[in-house]
Every structure is written in C-alpha cells, then in structure tokens.
C-alpha cells in the first residue's frame, strides 16, 4: 500500500521517518510476535499502531526502540538503514519513547528526572540545579508542556508525569516520539490536553507514533494508521478514509476458527448474583461502573472485551483481592464481600487465576503439595498431629491420573513442569473440589494445544454437571466457542449480552468490544435473568 504511494508519485522515498520492512520476531520460547510486518511512518504525521492485546504492537515498537532485536527485517530511520541494538542507539537517532509504565524516579524533582544522565554541571563536579531547572522550564515553555520543575515526581498527577516523560524524550533530541497506550492512565480532561499538545508537536514537524486500540481517539488525532492482528500486518490506511467499522473488522477477528464440542446448555437457577458493582482503582479512576450480572447453574457465561476494560478488577473483587466501592456480590444469597479466601472456597468457589505462577501454584513446592493445598485441613489428610501421607499420596496419584498431568512423580517440583502441565495442576485442584462456581480467568493462556483442549472439555463437562462457570478471556476464539452466553465489557460496563453465542459473528463482537455499538439497557439487563 505504501509502495503504491511511491509509484503514484504521491510521496517521496525521503519523506519517511521510519521504515520497518519485513519485520519478523520469534521469541526464544517459539512464539512469533511479529510475522513479516511493514511499518512505514511519514515525517510529521501522527500515526496510529493498532491491534488487540497480543497483536504484536508492543513488540514492534520495542524493536524500533532497540529493546528487542528482530529475527529478520530491515529498519530505516530518515532514509538511513541502521540496526538499533540498544535504546541508546535509538535515542541517538532521535527516537524517544514514552513507556506505558513511567520510567521516573519518584523522590527526585521533575527537573532532576528530566536531566538524569545528562546533568548540567558547574565547576565540572557539581550539578547545576539552576541550569537544570532553567533547561526544564525552557523546553516546557517551548513545547507548551507545562510542568513544575521543582515538584517531586511522587507528588504530581499522572498527566503531568506523562509530560515529564515527553520532555525527557524531547530534551534528548527526539523528533520521533513513540507513545505506548498513553491514554490508558489518563482522565478525560488529561487526554484532551495531551491531544492538544501532540497536535502542537505535529505542527512543528514532530513525528508521532501512537499506540492504542481506542477508535475514537484514533479518529480524533491520527493521520494514518497501521493495523496488526495476531502478529501480522493488516495494512496501512488514511484515518479519514477508513470507517470505524472497517478498523474494527481488521483488528478483531479469528484466523482459525476452532470449535469446541458441546451440547446445548440447559441453564437452571442463577447462583452468582452481582449487583451494580462499582470500583475505583488506586489512581482514582472508576474502572467498574455499575456492573450487574448473574451466572446460572449449568451454563458457561463468558466475559469478552479488550483487556483493561474492567474484567481483571471484577475477578479480583470476586476473589477478595480488592474490595468494591459499592454494590454487592451474592452466592446462593450469601454476600461474598469480606469473605476470606478459605471461606470462599468453603462456599464452593473455585478459581483459576490469570497469573498461575503467582496465584495458582507454589512453584517450588511439589505437585502433591500443590494438589492438596486447598484440602489439607480435611480429616482424612491430617490427623491430630501428623499428616496422613498414605491418603495424601492416594489423592494426588488419582488427580495426576484423572487430569493427565505429565510428570516423573508426584514429588516433582511444579516449576519443572511445562506451562500446560502446571495449569493442569491448578485445574486438577480447582475442579476436583466439587465446586458450585468456577471463575476461570484466561484459563488457557500460553499453554499447549493438548492441555488447552483438555481444560476446555473439562469446563464444559463441569458446567453440564451443574456448576456455574464464569469465563474471562481475551482470546476471542475461546470466549466465543466455549461460552453458552456472553457479555461484553467496555470501559467498565457491560455493553452487550448474548443469551446464545452460536449465531454471533466476529464483526459484531468487534463492534461491541471497541465501543462502536451498545445494546439498549433493556437488552443488557437480561443478563440478570429477572423478568
């Protein structure tokens, strides 16, 4: 597409600030994050790099900024072919990056952070603080990015921290700015301010690469956009010539549609009731804005959505890692708020956490110890003084067999297993406790096909036996195929409810996930199953 521009004579070869062609990146674990991606950014434009989570956006800009090295491909900056071996090389070529997680030292002042590593000196030995403040003030005035050079970074709001990051890049001579999901942490007002500043920077010739998956923002400030999906290049477009629907279709979609064999669900009474849940995170941003839903026995209710729209906070609240600001969660009419983890388990809740190495297993303990960790207090496993090791062995051997955990022995350390088998250890423990409700958060992320298949089948059979399953997944394939019914989260709210997922299309899902469409409140309210 870009090449046709050149042939048409619309654009000259020298007009590109960044030309990344044929970029492929295969990580040592075999995952290909970028597959033959082209990324061409013209001088002086704001260019969006779009894609779902895991589409390869971050990897691509990490390669551009020298944090990762490409497996193959060519990079040209301002017409000069170079290999960017480190961030220092990138900075030297005028590339600056504003990371999503700020790279600032909290107890230092704004000015100190700005000049860190390039401190002005007096008498060759001492830092010239006056000069540092002056430099900061000058550059902040020049680019209209207002900051207080004397304030400590820990005392300033997020929006100002971001400006400090931009100033850090500018003072080091950047003329190509990469912003990695800059609005994810900002309030609406701060976002508006940032856009004004970015437009002003563009006016004076800066090139800006803007990573996002928010359609409205992209439409508002970018000139062109490049879309990635599953690590592949989906084309580059002029922002005003492509509709939001088209973008959504290009971004969201499945390459291989996988099907899970399951008979039709016969849902019974609701068992988990979530009522009007609201939650404000530690930065004061309201990430759950009145979520109500019910999960019924005998069905898998899926939660779909782009990551960062409140799903993770909901799961954290369900398992008592966070507390909601208002609203209620009831299981069989008992409130779960303020229940400890062991009480939750006793009520019949099982939990497959997204981060299995932190919350799912104790990785240096043995398979056996992990398998019985939730039932060790039961009489058959522990006597008055000593553990009943024969019973424990029997139980763990049985679980290892039932759940096909590949291992040398039950005494093997969990961390020695493959990802799929570690997840099977988690699943074996969680599914075998006869749960009423299973909360499965990304249950098959990063594990092999065999284990994925096994876990999905188990989820289906448990739901058919009468358990309620709440499935959270960013994997569109999984959430659409495995769920019996489905809600879509967008910006902390449910924007759609589908009682039956079998007729749902990718395109429709994409439009809801990216906030283009929204069902009526009445349709959404059906998820509470109160007529």
């Amino acid at each position: 597409m870009v090449n046709s521009d050149i042939i048409d004579g619309k654009i000259n070869e020298n007009d590109y600030a960044v030309k990344m062609s044929g970029i492929t990146k295969v990580y040592p674990n075999g995952i290909a994050a970028n597959k033959d991606v082209d990324f061409f950014v013209r001088k002086g434009e704001i260019h969006a790099l779009m894609g779902e989570n895991g589409a390869g956006k971050s990897t691509l800009v990490k390669i551009l900024f020298g944090i990762e090295q490409p497996t193959s491909g060519k990079i040209e900056i301002n017409g000069e072919e170079i290999s960017i071996t480190s961030p220092q090389v990138a900075i030297g070529k005028g590339i600056g990056m504003v990371h999503q997680h700020f790279m600032l030292v909290p107890s230092l002042t704004v000015a100190e952070n700005v000049v860190l590593g390039i401190e002005p000196r007096k008498a060759k030995t001492f830092i010239d603080y006056k000069e540092a403040v002056k430099l900061t003030e000058e550059i902040s005035k020049k680019y209209n990015l207002h900051v207080d050079p004397y304030a400590k970074v820990m005392d300033i709001p997020v929006g100002m921290k971001q400006k400090v990051e931009i100033l850090k890049a500018l003072i080091r001579g950047a003329n190509i700015l990469i912003l990695d999901e800059p609005t994810a942490v900002l309030t609406t007002q701060e976002t508006e301010e940032l856009f004004k500043e970015l437009k002003a920077l563009k006016e004076i010739g800066f090139t800006i690469i803007f990573i996002s998956h928010k359609l409205n923002e992209i439409k508002e400030i970018t000139d062109r956009l490049t879309i990635l999906r599953n690590g592949r290049y989906m084309g580059v477009y002029n922002t005003d010539e492509v509709s939001k629907q088209d973008i959504s279709r290009l971004m969201v979609g499945r390459d291989v549609i996988l099907s899970v064999e399951k008979d039709k669900a016969a849902p019974k009474e609701p068992i988990l009731k979530i009522e009007n849940l609201r939650f404000r995170n530690q930065w004061g941003k309201e990430v759950l804005r009145g979520v109500s839903l019910n999960v019924r026995r005998g069905e898998i209710l899926g939660i779909a959505g782009v990551e960062g729209n409140g799903q993770r906070e909901l799961v954290d609240i369900l398992f008592n890692i966070d507390k909601p600001n208002s609203g209620d969660i009831r299981l069989n009419d008992k409130s779960l708020i303020n229940c400890s983890e062991s009480e939750l388990r006793e009520l019949g809740i099982s939990y497959i956490p997204e981060d299995r190495m932190t919350y799912g297993v104790a990785d240096s303990a043995t398979i056996e110890e992990n398998l019985i960790s939730d039932r060790i207090y039961e009489k058959r496993f522990s006597g008055k003084l000593m553990l009943n090791s024969a019973e424990i062995a029997k139980e763990s051997e049985k679980l290892i067999e039932d759940y096909q955990i590949l291992c040398r022995s039950r005494k093997q350390q969990v961390r020695m297993l493959s990802g799929g088998n570690i997840q099977k250890v988690v699943v074996a423990r969680e599914f075998s406790s006869n749960p009423d409700l299973i909360i499965a958060d990304q249950p098959t992320r990063g594990i092999d096909v065999g284990a994925t298949e096994f876990i999905r089948k188990k989820l289906v059979s448990l739901s058919r036996e009468g358990a309620a399953v709440l499935l959270v997944s960013a994997d569109l394939n999984e959430v659409m195929e495995l769920s019996d019914s489905l809600v879509v989260f967008y910006e902390g709210q449910i924007v759609a409810y589908f009682e039956d997922t079998s007729t749902l299309t990718d395109i429709e899902m994409g439009e809801y996930m990216l906030g283009l469409k929204r069902q009526t409140d009445e349709e959404i309210r059906k998820v509470t199953h109160i007529d």
Binding site: M103, V105, L108, L116, R121, T125, I127, R172, R280, G284
Partner: protein, 322 residues
Amino acid sequence: MQNVLNAMMTPSFGYAILRMTTPILFATLAAVIASKAGVSNIGIEGIMMFSALAGVIFSGMTKSWVVGLLSALVVGVFLGLMIGFFALKLNTDIVLAGIAVNTLGGGGTIFFLFLASGDRGASNSITSEIVPKINIPLIKDIPILGEVLSGHSGLTYFAFVCVILVYVLLYKTPLGLKMRAVGENRDAADSVGVSVNKISYIALALSGLLAGLAGAFMSMGYMKGFTVNMAAGRGFIGLAAQAMGQGEPIGGMLASLLFGFANAIAINLQGAISLSPQIIQSFPYILVIVSLVFYSLSTRNRLKRIKRAAIESDKTEAKDNS
C-alpha cells in the same frame, strides 16, 4: 546514682561520646551510601575487622600510620567491590554476600593475625602506629568545651567532615543523582543510559572505603593494636543508625551520636554502679532495639496520617466531581 550523674557532668564524658561515635558514624555513612544506591551492604562489620587488622599489620611493618591507614582503606574498597562482584556479576543475594564477608571477618582476621604475629588473640607483638591526635588551636583553650572537642584522633574529625562530603556527593553531584536514581528505580535510570552496574560498584566501593575508615579507627585510634572481634557489632549498629536516620547522612549522624552516647554511658556506669558489667555493656544494644521500635512506630503513624489525608482528599474530590 549520684556517682553516675557526676560522671556524666564531666568534660571527659563529652569527649567519650565523640570518641565512641566515630566508628559508628563511619559505619553509618557506609550504610547510607550503599542503601541510597539500592545495594545493601550488610558486610560493614566484616570489612571493619579486616581493615582494622590491615592497619595494624602495615603500620607495624612500615612504622608509618599513613601507610597503615591507606592499606586499611584499600582493603575496605576491595571487600566492597568483592561483595559487588558476588552480587552483581555472579548473582548471589547481596545480603548473603555481606554475611559471608562478616563471617570471614570473624575467622579470617584471626588467621591473618596468626600469620603476621604468631598470636591468636591480640596483636601485642606488633608495634603499630596510630593516627595522630589533633589539638585544635583556640578551641582547645576554651574551658570545658576545649576538653570535649579538642585532642581527638584525626579520624574523629574526619568522620564529621565525611558527613558533609557524603551529603554533597549524594545531593550535589551528578554521581549522587545517578546513585539515588539507580537506588529507587533501576529501569528509569537504565532507560536514560545510566549504567546501573557501574553505579552499583561505585557505591559499594565508597561504602567499603567508609567501612575501612571505621575499621582503621578501631585499631589506630580507639585502641592501639588489634584484638579479636574488636568491631564488636559496631558495623551492625551502623546499619541500625542508617535506618533510624531515614537513610540520610545528617539523620544518620544524629543516630550515631545517640549510640555513641549510650556507649559512653555504658563505660561510665561500669564501676559506678554495682550491676554486672555484662548487663551494663548490653545497654547500647537495648537502646538500639528500643529506639528502632519507637522509630518504626512513628513512621507507621506518619504513613497512616498520610494515607488518611489522601483518602480524605479523595473523598472531597469525588464530591467535587459529582
């Protein structure tokens, strides 16, 4: 009790406080520099032992206190860098590397002492030198104050000079800024091209240098000659004083003075009251524990207040928005 109070009212008590403070102050500054740069140096005690011995052996051999002092410093820097090598290059836990140096300091010094002198307990057979005492002109003639402030080992004065030097290093120089940045957010420092490893090594070398000064004072000022285990926990007290002083050089100095004061009392009490000397000698350590408890209580309260204030402002903000 009257005896004790009388003893405390004499100028020699004031003199003793400064004398007792000196090694603790050096050790505290050693801990301050390391922790500011995010590399905790637990090995100060062990470094003190080795440096104390080095000072005695080399000043004895050359009959020059300058050579003795310099060799103590070289040993200190070397051990500091060694901790760095284990922790940064070989990826051992830095606390374990420090503990290893401490353990080595206990046994290793006896070994080297035996090699050098044939003794196992003290360096009696080596005639070593001390760092000269300095009488400060004018001040020495002031009654009482002169007796307290003048006539100390040169190292005592240098310890207080070091407080200023460390402060200036940390807060007025590019190196200090980089150290603080590395200590607080390595990724941030790294992302702007600051070499995290280099800064960590420099911090450990400087920390070792200060611990070396502490050791040199023990055998070339506080006493003349080396005895086994002569650091007697002062390296650890330095770590406590660093924590109490909130990791700042000035705060650390005040905490060191408090511990110096406790040490001086302990010495004065012996002979003045009829408690067993073991109990009296444990007084400074009890003070360490008590003051740390008070310190952590006060910080906890302060954190609580800050948190409460944050919640309050959050509430008003939420009200304003709605």
